[in-house]
């Protein structure tokens, strides 16, 4: 039972055939490597994408739901949020890089909601994006550096 959906991915129109159970993560990864599959149960945030500028775990989100909507992933967001992207590079808010597109995407969503978050707000907002490498201080510094 396939169906065609139309959505905007990083500002570009996309047409794609999906089934009712196709996950947004798998659909989007046809076009980009930015969202990563990690926990698969919506707790780690490595698959975070923005749907209508709201962060969602694409591993738990059905692709059919983005029909007619806008989707942004980290490779597009580096163009929309160049200052934040540069801050992640300068403060080395990353190590292995597998969680980084998700961290960056969630951080973009945070700045859309709250352009001047303090450290407690950053840590609370980012609690859904796990990182096993950095201990988070560098990620917090990266977000802080772009505020």
């Amino acid at each position: 039972m396939k169906r065609e959906i139309h959505y905007e991915l990083n500002g570009n129109p996309v047409t794609q055939e999906v089934t009712p159970e196709t996950l947004l993560l798998d659909a989007v990864r046809q076009w980009t490597t930015a969202p990563k599959e990690a926990c698969g149960v919506g707790v780690c945030g490595a698959c975070t994408v923005l749907v209508n500028d709201q962060p969602v775990s694409s591993c738990l989100y059905l692709a059919a739901l983005v029909d007619g909507q806008t989707v942004w992933t980290a490779d597009g967001l580096v163009q929309r949020f160049p200052r934040l992207a540069q801050s992640f590079v300068e403060h080395e808010g990353l190590q292995c890089g597998i969680c980084t597109p998700g961290q960056f995407t969630a951080a973009c969503a945070l700045l859309l909601e709250n352009p001047h978050p303090d450290e407690a707000t950053i840590r609370h907002y980012m609690a859904g994006n796990l990182c096993r490498c950095t201990g988070y201080a560098a990620i917090v510094r990266s977000i802080h550096g772009a505020v």
Partner: protein
Amino acid sequence: MARIDAPAKVAGTMAFTADVRRPGLCYAAVVRSPYPHARIRLIDAASARRLDGVVAVVTGRDLPDRTYGRAVRDIPALAKEEVRYVGERVVAVVAETRAAAERAASRVRIEYDPQPAVLDPESALADDAPRVHAQAWAYPGAVVGPDDPPNLQSRVHLTFGGSVEEGLQKAAAIVDAVYTTPAGQHGYLEPQACLAEIDREGRMHLWIPNKSPYRLREQLAAYFDVDPALIEIHPVAIGGDFGGKGSPMDAPLCLELARLVGRPVLLQLRYNEDLTATESRHAGRIRVRVGADVQGRLTALAVDALFNGGAYAGYKPAKTAELLGVREAGGAYRIPALELTARIAYTHTLPGGHMRSPGSPQVVFAVESALDELAAALGIDPVELRRRNLLTTGEVDAHGIQAVEHRGHKTLEAALAALRPRPVPAGWRYGRGIAIYNRATFPGSTSLRLTREADGRVTVVIPLPETGTGSHTVVQRTVAQALGIPEASVTVVQGSTRELPYDDGVGGSRVTAAIGVAVAQALEAWAAQGHTGTVEVVVRPEGVPRVTSYCVEVAQVAVDPETGQVAVLELLAAVDVAQIVNPLAHQIQLEGGLAMGYGFSVMEDLAVREGQVTAATLGDFKIPSAQDVPPLQVVLVPGGQGLGFGNTKGVGELTNVPTAAAIANAVAQAVGVRIRDLPISAERVYQHLVRVPSAGPKEVAL
């Protein structure tokens, strides 16, 4: 200048294994054992084979009789007649899509005859225990014999100096206590993955997040009984390692599948498979006996560790199949009599492997906790007890080794000088605890190739994968500094295993030092040919001076005496360093280690029950989030002597090690209860508090 991999990692354009695509690629899924121990009676794959998109359904009977491993070769690519743990691979399905492979895998019907299982190492070593392997000694690389206790994987027994028994007898006080640490997982966010392809000439190609590709090539060559030159491992980014990306993992199976179906095959584990069925941190039960005279000078230390090795020994790289961290017990101190015993047992549980300083977090938790218990028995301040026993430069350690220097005293005083008390919530009790770790840097073997290009730029080809530590940037910076040229003029390329002779792989905190040693040699050779053309060097580990790094951690905690909840107010780590190549990356390594140490101390437990991992998702196996990690303070103690061109020493496996003892010691100071079992959960502290009449709450019926 920033890390060379940072922009691509932020944008998500860096290629990890699951991002690689090959022409004709098909996808694998695995059917795993639901029993800790059973005989496979029947496999019915007929309905799975009939599904759309299925290319092949493969069982152990379709594969030759061979086993693999890093040192002991005891792991089958698929179970043949017997399964030995919940999660063991039994059947593999290859299909046109991952969804089709997983659908078909769910249709495979397997009948088992459950058998008696041994689930803990104590019962595994009993004379009448069921055997995990009928003839464990017969595997290539086995370090046990037919006369050893059943289910023994490995045994280490080392004595140094005088008699431990005499040392304990003459002590003014002794501690004799048992400490336990649970099974854990690395918690890297990239689940294990492997893409295997066999080309028309029969050469095997792999894209796999493996941190020691040259060793992997040797391990696979031994498994397939082929020339290692027939195997090529291609560079890909590694999405977190911490020791878990060092074994062949699913590479033998994927190569077997690629051979059988004649197409490239990708197996990407679901995260619950990674948590329940891949190599884990060995659970440990560690008895410590330690004594000191009335002045607090240590008279003897005996450590007797028993580890759960799980169903296979092949995930440990040491030829002795041991966890080398056991040898570090008491390594910061002057100990006239030292006895180290470690046994690892086979059980019907998921296999134990290496995890960030393997063995050290377990053993250092035990020994550094016992030192605080000893200090209490003697009525000496725990910091003062350590001061009286720390090695000083010029002294030979208990193993008879003379390091170039000992900077434990300096590091300890730096930690204390930087310490500022944190505010405590009303009604909670404050405590602070200390723990010390000392680790040697072994640069090991590596190789690299420098080429001056026609335009004057320099290309460095290296064998080392980037596991996230920033090692490729370290190469760039070290070469640029050594040649006095801008970093932008140095291009770093990780070659496939065809490019260079050898490398030990990322591990043992060796990489920066190994790069420094290799660059120093390369420059010498290059100068001799006028800094032109190409030079290739191979570094061997001989004649390297012993340098060590001290790490002193202080934990400040507040404990709620009503509930047992522990709030870690701050973790401070003072670290003895030489030169630092990239200060920011160095800092983040130390912070990340503290966060991992924090998780090990108070949160993480794989909760293996009746042989089954019950913390089977990242929602259950809780690793620290940005909100969990307490404030971290890193204090550098510069001026140490390092290795190689950059005068560096290891940093990757320091701060994660002493954290648990520092927190346990702080909790003991706060509420007077000694937690000897990790993790230090509120429940555990509460259960101890109710047993101390004056200290805590009344027990309430739940």
